[in-house]
């Protein structure tokens, strides 16, 4: 009797979830979505869904619509496919440059609100049309969405570009002392290339840091435990002097000093250690004095490039390094609130002081 009643109760309870039943084969798990502003100021949404059917020739299904909002686009997608679309496996969202210039705030809001979208979804900007980049098939790669995802993951791990997910983007967007950033990619004939780092003022795109300077940006922004950078130290007897500084680790410190006329002075210091794997100049690395000379030269080069980058960021009113956070923390609450940081920021005196130590120089004299 007891067993029977248990079975009846179970049957009753389990039947309850029928309306939320999900059959894997009938699900369309959106993996990458891109958003662009179309010519008539509407939202162009492109979504890439991996196809699991082994009989299908195509490895992915692409859906493109124009709509007024992200969720409206989803309704339109639904009318186009036999699959039940879900966003729980969304890994990557790409925003076209036009859209980022108009501001991402609303789209961020929609993505953050959806309980099925996790904070770990990668956010990237496309220089050009994001939908076109996602729609294109690249010969060597079966699935463009996955290709972009892996590319960003690998490069982000090496610190040449920042790893930006919804978590980081919305965190910095909602903080009053830092502006958000995101990697920026571009479509070329047969590849997707990392262009650099997109810097935002609030939710609007303002400027780009080229990929070659990504490492310097990373050094300015925080401590690192891996990365590599190639520096051009000028010419020596008609020969280019290139140094490749690798396996570098860096300790980052930021100090805010207030001068008498209550202007701010910020000192960013970075203590950098790494190996030299390539050097094409005339200094002899096995010689201690020469090595110290090279350390100084690298420091000076990093310093001048870093300082130039800081000026550039200040001119564009983007506090991508989060200087505001440190200034805020050096003030009393009342002082911070009476400071219009956006106005003050461009005139703050910011200096970068890197100190380079060559750990080793390879296995060849």
């Amino acid at each position: 009797m007891r067993k029977l009643s248990a079975v009846i109760v179970l049957m009753f309870l389990l039947s309850g979830c029928k309306s939320d039943e999900r059959i894997l084969e009938r699900l369309g798990m959106v993996q990458t979505s891109s958003y662009d502003l179309s010519e008539d100021q509407r939202l162009k949404v492109t979504s890439s869904i991996p196809v699991v059917n082994p009989e299908s020739v195509s490895r992915r299904e692409l859906l493109v619509v124009e709509a007024d909002s992200i969720k409206e686009a989803r309704l339109q997608f639904s009318r186009k496919t036999e699959l039940f679309l879900v966003s729980g496996q969304l890994r990557n969202v790409l925003f076209g440059l036009n859209l980022t210039k108009a501001g991402l705030g609303n789209y961020l809001d929609t993505l953050m609100r959806d309980p099925s979208v996790a904070l770990g979804v990668r956010v990237s900007i496309v220089d050009g049309d994001a939908g076109a980049l996602l729609s294109k098939d690249y010969k060597q790669h079966a699935d463009t969405g996955q290709y972009v995802d892996h590319l960003l993951e690998k490069e982000g791990g090496r610190n040449s570009i920042p790893q930006i997910t919804l978590y980081e983007f919305s965190r910095d967007y909602n903080d009053d002392g830092i502006d958000p950033i995101a990697p920026i990619i571009k479509e070329t004939e047969d590849h997707v290339v990392i262009e650099g780092i997109a810097c935002f003022e609030q939710d609007r795109y303002r400027m780009k840091i080229p990929a070659a300077d990504g490492m310097i940006f990373a050094l300015l922004r925080g401590s690192l435990n891996q990365g590599e950078v190639a520096l051009n130290l000028g010419e020596d007897g008609g020969r280019k002097r290139i140094v490749m500084f690798s396996s570098l680790g860096s300790q980052h410190k930021l100090k805010v000093i207030r001068s008498e006329n209550s202007r701010f002075k910020v000192k960013i210091s970075a203590s950098i250690q790494g190996s030299v794997l390539e050097y094409t100049g005339s200094l002899r690395l096995q010689n201690k004095a020469d090595r110290q000379e090279l350390e100084k030269e690298i420091s000076a080069k990093l310093s001048s490039e870093g300082n130039q980058m800081i000026r550039n960021l200040q001119q564009h009113h983007v506090d991508s390094l989060g200087i505001g956070q440190y200034v805020r923390n050096s003030l009393s609450y009342r002082e911070w609130k009476s400071t219009d940081w956006n106005k003050v920021y461009p005139s703050v005196e910011i200096e970068f002081h890197p100190k380079v130590i060559i750990k080793d120089y390879g296995k060849y004299n």
Partner: protein, 360 residues
Amino acid sequence: MAEKLTPFHITILVYMTQSGIIIFTLPRQLAEYFGTNGWLFMVPCFVISSLNIYLISLVYHMGKGRSIFLILEQSISKVVLYPLYIGLSSVWLIFGCMIGKKYVLLFQMISFPTTNPMIFKLAIDLLALLLLTKGIYTISKATTVFFWVTIWMYLLLLGFIPNFQWVRLTPFIFKEGHDMVRGGLDIYTAFLGYELSLLYLPYMDHKKKSMRGVYAGNTILSVAYISFAFICFGFFSLGQLKKLLYPLLDLLAFIQLPFVERLENLLYGFFLFLILVTVVMYWWAAAESVQRILPRANISILCSILVGISFVVSYIPTTLDQVNTWIMYLSYAATGIAFGLPLLLVVLLLVQRKRRNSYA
């Protein structure tokens, strides 16, 4: 010799009763009401709850471990007491029921958006009823198992340390908040649950330092809550934290292991154990009070009726907002009980002692 609750079991029972549904929203509430470094507010909460437990321990020592019902009935007429018992049991019964309903609605939001929530509620209520009818000793043993099943989740906090930055904590204390008094009351309810230890008194082992178990349970909870809130304030920015309705769900969804991600549906299931114990203990307290009015009632039937009533009541609020409002008012009442009841008991015990002395 009758079975007794050991201090270890009391510790776990108190901790598990206290940790409940509020953990899903706690960091956001702290950020919203108290602003910068809101997590610090948990420290005075811990002190106040410890003082409240001190009051309970006074009742325990002065009453020599007698049941609170015996103490009450010795001095107050049953005509007055019965409405009080009904009041106590109503608050506890519906409070437990609304906590269960909120868990169900959250679960529904993330996993089963169109399923009727009352089906899940029924499943949880049946589970709770099965546990409830077994009595406090079995509940405490089951709770110990649930404790080990869930406590490891605090280790997941370590995974958020790489993204933790001191600079986000800011040096400001309690700036950019609002309605701190109301917020304080709301947040204090996170600690509720220890007050039910008033009802454990007759089940405690008087030879052992049982009250220390209650303090220990409250301390474990405080340490867990404070570390959780602290990590949240350095992991999220303040503005972001204010916008995340359920920061815990976002944290769980952020966890990525090399072989699997989006674990939150799985992890969310573990919270059922925490909620289940909270619900069962509040219902147990309600049943204890009702039993005082109907001493001859069959305990299984009584519990079934109570759970049935609460199931019907849980039909009334249908949205998360409505449930939150119910929980808010009921938790104010439960906070009132947590302070008022032991105070009343201490006064009665003082009167009783004085009377005894004057007779002697």
